[in-house]
């Protein structure tokens, strides 16, 4: 077969040039972002890339992921086949035939089978997209581009068909079949045609393959299928920190706080925009989106990308933006309302197959609103002032902090003597319901002979809510003061009953030089039980127990088993599970500072969760967080299901020792 090199070589040249130009343009846009070091720890990054990109770990967490797994690997392997194809188009005879015969056979066989797998995967994808789309796939802004997806799938299918037709006709014309079973089958199908027809069919197949390949290459960087190029680097450059630990801010003059213009995002934030394929899994798990709020995490990433495309390099900080980043909702502009809807539960982060960091971007924009504009839902004014003046959300006098139990008195942490600092937390110290949990935990610690003490009025709020709400200025003051106090007292071990305190002390305070053992009470209780220090003398009678995961204990700190083991030890039965549990757990609605805000749009998140619990007919809804406690109790009341008790795991355990 004769390939018209004179025609193909300039065509290829132009196509490669335009492709490179498009990629350069996109890269230039990513470079608009502010610097961020994502080049450290190569080992961990490579390992993550193998797991998440090449291993497709997250993709495979849903049934149809396997289809993508096949397509992904087919694409990688066929890159070699297509390189051979292009090379042959430039240099006559530069194809597999120049390789040793055994290697040639292995490659031929691989390409042949893999192309069939790719064709089958495309067929499955097409059928699914057209006939069985998941509910989270489409929405107001992705649906108009559904055609784009069909076009890409069509292109891939065309490439595969052209590949088989080309190889089949070549075999029919006398090429060796070698190890190409599928192409061999095609050859037998077309064997009856005249050599001239076969020649022109082969020529046509070659050109169709060539043109579609070059079009495909040029279409990629200009579509959401850019992820084919960016997803692997995006996995490599993932956050090695706990992604909900926001970067620490310093406070100097002439400085900007948070993000209000596209160029203030980091380059990685912008790369995220080009890595999103709009699969919709984040949207599917988002508690705000699921209850009819303005927030849609996928939309945030999309709007950032559109804003970047609209503003281009001119969007750099200081430049005049053509499209505002935060403002009235439209494509490329994010509404303030949607930013305040986030519960920072981290579901989007934990589900995204390419490790896009949605929630940290939301907090960055909140920082701008709070710190530069002082613009936030009015309920937060009281919270912020109470935090600043009295270091707790309710504005209760700090002198009341140690007074959660008249019977136990205030047992203060004694430097050099006490082993565990019991960081009671604001809820545990002031909230009348949570105080019962505090007492239960104190009882447990005493029963196990643990040496513990509190800071009393010297304990300040850990600052979780203010940090997630973007009030880094106040968080900074609280964190500094708490860390200084811990160091002054020589604290080496801390136990908390609140996952928010736990997460903040353990992860956020590392930025303030605190690297000591911080345990959530579920972890310590499990430890005490397994070491035989805490003897559970009887079974806690709780009826049927269902366990609700706290986002800050579970998703943000991967602690799923400790609370379940504790419930099992105390009741003798493993707790029942929600339909959405562990990594897929559904927020109570109070994280990210939402505890202190009204929930005015859509249905209420806690009601959605309580309804999910009621499907299992539990007697006890077991929680491990004071916020979850409040939200579940309120939800059960609203549902008229007060018969179901809400108990913290500490209360369940306390029942088993007294």
């Amino acid at each position: 077969m004769l390939i018209n090199h004179a025609l193909f070589i300039p065509l290829l040249f132009i196509a490669v040039l335009t492709f490179c130009y498009s990629c350069y343009q996109r890269l230039q846009l990513v470079a608009v972002g502010s610097p961020e070091n994502r080049f450290d720890n190569t080992g961990a990054r490579l390992a993550g890339t193998l797991t998440y990109a090449f291993g497709q770990k997250r993709v495979l967490s849903r049934p149809y992921g396997i289809n993508h797994f096949f397509l992904f690997w087919a694409f990688l392997l066929l890159l070699i086949a297509n390189a051979e194809f292009l090379l042959e188009g430039v240099i006559a005879g530069a194809n597999l035939s120049v390789l040793p015969v055994s290697l040639r056979h292995v490659l031929e066989f691989t390409f042949d089978i893999v192309s069939l797998v790719a064709l089958a995967s495309v067929a499955v994808a097409l059928v699914r997209r057209i006939f069985l789309p998941p509910p989270y796939l489409g929405n107001d802004y992705t649906s108009p581009r559904s055609g784009e997806a069909l076009l890409i799938l069509g292109m891939i299918a065309t490439l595969m068909v052209a590949f088989f037709l080309l190889n089949g006709t070549r075999i029919a014309l006398g090429d060796s079949e070698g190890w190409k079973p599928v192409s061999g089958l095609v050859a037998r199908l077309v064997a009856g045609l005249s050599p001239t027809t076969l020649e022109s069919a082969a020529g046509a197949a070659w050109w169709v393959h060539a043109v579609v390949l070059l079009l495909f290459m040029n279409f990629l960087p200009r579509s959401k299928h850019m992820h084919i190029l960016t997803a692997i680097p995006n996995c490599y450059f993932r956050s090695l920190e706990k992604p909900n630990v926001q970067p620490r801010e310093t406070f100097g003059k002439e400085q900007r706080f948070g993000v209000s213009e596209i160029g203030q995002f980091s380059w990685k934030d912008l790369l995220d925009g080009f890595s999103c394929t709009e699969c919709g899994r984040c949207q599917d798990l988002c508690p705000a989106h699921n209850t009819g709020k303005a927030l849609n995490p996928r939309r945030i990433i999309h709007d950032i990308k559109i804003n970047l495309l609209a503003n281009g390099p001119a969007g750099e900080a200081g430049g005049k933006a053509r499209l505002t980043l935060i403002g009235e909702k439209k494509e490329g502009t994010i509404s303030e309302e949607s930013l305040w809807d986030c519960t920072t539960c981290g579901a989007c982060l934990s589900v995204c197959p390419v490790l896009i960091e949605h929630m940290p971007k939301i907090v960055k924009m909140r920082r701008h609103l709070v710190e530069e504009k002082a613009k936030f839902p009015e309920e937060l004014l009281n919270l912020f002032e109470n935090m600043e003046q009295r270091s707790n959300p309710w504005g209760i006098a700090p002198s009341e902090r140690g007074k959660w139990s008249a019977a136990l008195g205030e047992r203060h942490f004694k430097p050099g003597e006490t082993e565990y600092l019991f960081f009671v937390g604001c809820s545990g110290a002031f909230d009348s319901r949570a105080k019962h949990v505090t007492v239960a935990l104190a009882t447990i610690l005493d029963a196990a002979g643990v040496s513990w003490g509190i800071l009393g009025k010297d304990e300040l709020c850990c600052g979780d809510s203010v940090r997630r709400l973007g009030n880094e200025y106040v968080f900074d003051q609280l964190a500094k003061a708490n860390v200084a106090r811990f160091k002054e007292k020589g604290v080496r071990k801390i136990v908390t009953q609140c996952p928010h305190c736990f997460n903040t002390l353990k992860n956020d305070y590392r930025q303030y030089g605190l690297e000591i053992e911080v345990l959530h009470h579920s972890q310590l209780i499990q430890q005490l039980v397994s070491e035989g220090k805490l003897r559970l003398t009887k079974k806690a009678e709780m009826g049927k127990v269902i366990f609700h995961d706290s986002c800050y204990l579970g998703r943000h700190n991967d602690t799923y088993e400790a609370p379940r083991q504790v419930i099992l030890a105390a009741t003798g039965t493993a707790p029942a599970e929600f339909g959405r549990a562990k990594e897929n757990g559904f927020c109570c609605g109070a994280g990210g500072g939402r505890m202190w805000m009204e929930e005015q749009t859509g249905t209420r998140i806690n009601l959605e969760r309580v309804k999910e619990a009621m499907q299992q007919q539990p007697d006890t809804l077991c929680v491990s967080c004071p916020y979850c406690m409040t939200m579940m109790e309120d939800g059960l009341k609203d549902e008229g299901a007060e018969r179901v008790r809400v108990k913290d795991i500490a209360e369940v355990v306390a029942e088993a020792i007294s």
Binding site: F251, G252, K253, Q255, F257, V370, E371, E372, K373, A374, F376, E378, L381, F384, E385, Q389, R390, G395, I396, A397, P398, S399, S432, R433, H436, Y473
Partner: protein, 270 residues
């Protein structure tokens, strides 16, 4: 035209305890806050600044650490902060305090015409509500107390119309400028400072005027100029009151006990 807010740094009274032996306030370790009513005075000045581009000044009389409170005012957007501080001013009652504040306002008036002086309706530590009216009296300004809305300001005719919040009724009052207005919480929602403003306020100049500047007769200010003397402070004994029921485990039963008690004491009409 100047808009002046008089503010006071007060101990956070929710945290103040009374020493049972000496019957004095235990102020040790108690954080200071801006008197909550005064935050509304500041906010209203700032609203007028936003609306009419008027110049705003915050005045506070107190010990040198009152500077912190004045920086907060600067962080909110007040243009100038002046601390009135002198050993001679210490121990003042409301009369002596109003003399110092009035003298400072008079001094400011020599620079630029004073239009409105805002004060909180009272402070949470003294609760007298006398300083605002005292300033008005000393200066001969119109006195508008308990204002919850500014209806209208006519700068040409130099008149102001406000709404006063009285028990069970409102009163619309019109008066000639300059005025002293004491404000209630309903007047506005105080703003929250931005971080850049806070950082700027940390380095902002706080003018200090002592008695060498104000040149008041030392017999008329501070302890010497105060006719009011506090003879005793004490917490009233609580001879009644108890915790009833178990609100957590039996909220309905507890509510029942409470209602019965209220009914038996004829405090609840059925």
């Amino acid at each position: 035209m100047l808009v002046i807010s008089c503010i006071k740094q007060v101990p956070d009274t929710t945290q103040v305890k009374i020493d049972p032996v000496t019957n004095t306030l235990v102020r040790e370790g108690i954080p200071f806050i801006v008197n909550p009513y005064d935050t509304h005075a500041l906010e209203e000045s700032l609203c007028l600044k936003d609306k009419y581009s008027l110049r705003t000044v915050a005045l506070s009389m107190g010990p040198p650490n009152t500077e912190v409170t004045l920086r907060k005012a600067r962080a909110l957007g007040i243009d100038e902060a002046i601390l009135l501080s002198d050993r001679a001013f210490g121990g003042a009652d409301t009369l002596a305090t109003s003399r110092v504040l009035a003298a400072a306002i008079e001094r400011l008036g020599t620079r630029e015409e004073v239009g409105i002086v805002f004060c909180g309706k009272q402070t949470i530590d003294g609760d007298t509500a006398q300083v605002g009216p005292g300033i008005a009296t000393r200066l001969g300004f119109t006195q508008l107390t308990l204002v919850d809305r500014i209806e209208h300001i006519d700068f040409l005719k130099k008149r102001i119309r406000v709404r006063r919040k009285l028990e069970g009724r409102h009163e619309i009052v019109e008066a000639p400028l300059p005025v002293v207005i004491t404000v209630v919480r309903e007047l506005n929602r105080p703003r929250y400072p931005t971080v850049p403003m806070r950082l700027a306020a940390e380095e902002a100049d706080i003018t200090v005027w002592d008695n060498t500047v104000l040149k008041l007769d030392v017999e008329t200010v501070g302890l010497k100029g105060s006719p009011t003397w506090v003879s005793k402070i004490f917490s009233p004994e609580r001879d009644q009151g108890e915790i009833i029921g178990d609100g957590v485990n039996d909220p309905e039963g507890t509510a029942g006990i409470l209602i019965e008690k209220l009914l038996s004491k004829d405090l609840l009409a059925v």
